[in-house]
Amino acid sequence: MKKVTIDPITRLEGHGKIEIFLNDEGDVANAYLQIPELRGFEKFCEGRPVEEMPRIVPRICGV
């Protein structure tokens, strides 16, 4: 099955990739959006003082 890859997705905040599978007729059989990005704020914010959160979590997205 033919695969079309759009990597990276551009002009947005963050990282993304699209995989499109084409069938024998050249029509779209299926498409997948993948997010190849994770930093783990959910975990590494644990243990940090609550008053520091306003200066850590803005770095989730600076756009």
């Binding site: 759009i6 990276p8 905040e13 299926n30 930093r39 590494f44 989730i60």
Partner: protein, 324 residues
Amino acid sequence: MAKPKVALYWAAACGGCDVAVLDTNEKILDIANIADIVFWPIALDFKYHHVEAMEDKSIDLCLFNGAIRSSEQEKIAKLLRNKSKVMVAFGACACFGGIPALGNLTNRAEIFQRVYIEAPSNANADGTVPQTSTKVTEGELELPEFFDTVSTLAQVVDVEYFVPGCPPPVDIILKVVNAFATDQLPPVGSVIASDKTLCDECDRVKEQKKITKLYRPHEIIPDPKKCLLEQGVICCGPATRGGCGLRCIKANMPCRGCFGPPPKVADQGAALVSVIASIYQGNTEEEIARMVEEVVDPAGTFYRFALADSMLKRKRMPPTEGRL
């Protein structure tokens, strides 16, 4: 004559460095006048295969922001390094690991467990976590490997210049652009910021550095004219490079070190521990024990932005088993 080619990329980052470039406002037009931007995912529609097709060293300047957290980021760092004459670690994450490197206090297994299994907002009864390769009906899908440990850009590829800050301030960005445009870049290896510490540049009144208690923000309203450290508020200024324009200090907030260590300091956190230890006045075992307790989060405070770049690099713990 063809214009010089410039590439901008983000790895493990938040996009704030890219926005800081746009914060140059109308000067962004000057940048566009003197250079062709050939790759910039946040703003322009170029793909990885466009970069792969370029000749080696055909990009004149690459401003690379973000830390190296995944195999994809490592791959693109190496790709852009091969294609670029001058590689700049742009911003705290690329220079020192930045906020994403707080992930070095944990590892992939713990992060995946929290993010994909335990987070209350999840609906993931099967306990699915990302895999580098997934079979689907139509074929195979691939994701980059999520590393256990975050690295700085210079730990992965050779870097010519370092532009610190979270994000780098506009005046420093313009300094870099002007130096590049006029062919007056400093010696390779330079950090493009101040050579003084933040303390040296801070205009708050400094009297005597002797403290008997550390305060958390809810316990004190600091005098905006006096040194924060002398008031018992942990400020990373003595072990942080200057050049930021005192953005936090002017907001009556202590420095958290986003410009990284000053010249000749190898480990910013160790330098900060040394500062606090030398000004803390305690004479008995009990007093010293209390003072140590008052530092609520030593690793996250002293190594807020530079854990990946430090001698410790990460918390010691067994690596996550398996590839993913």
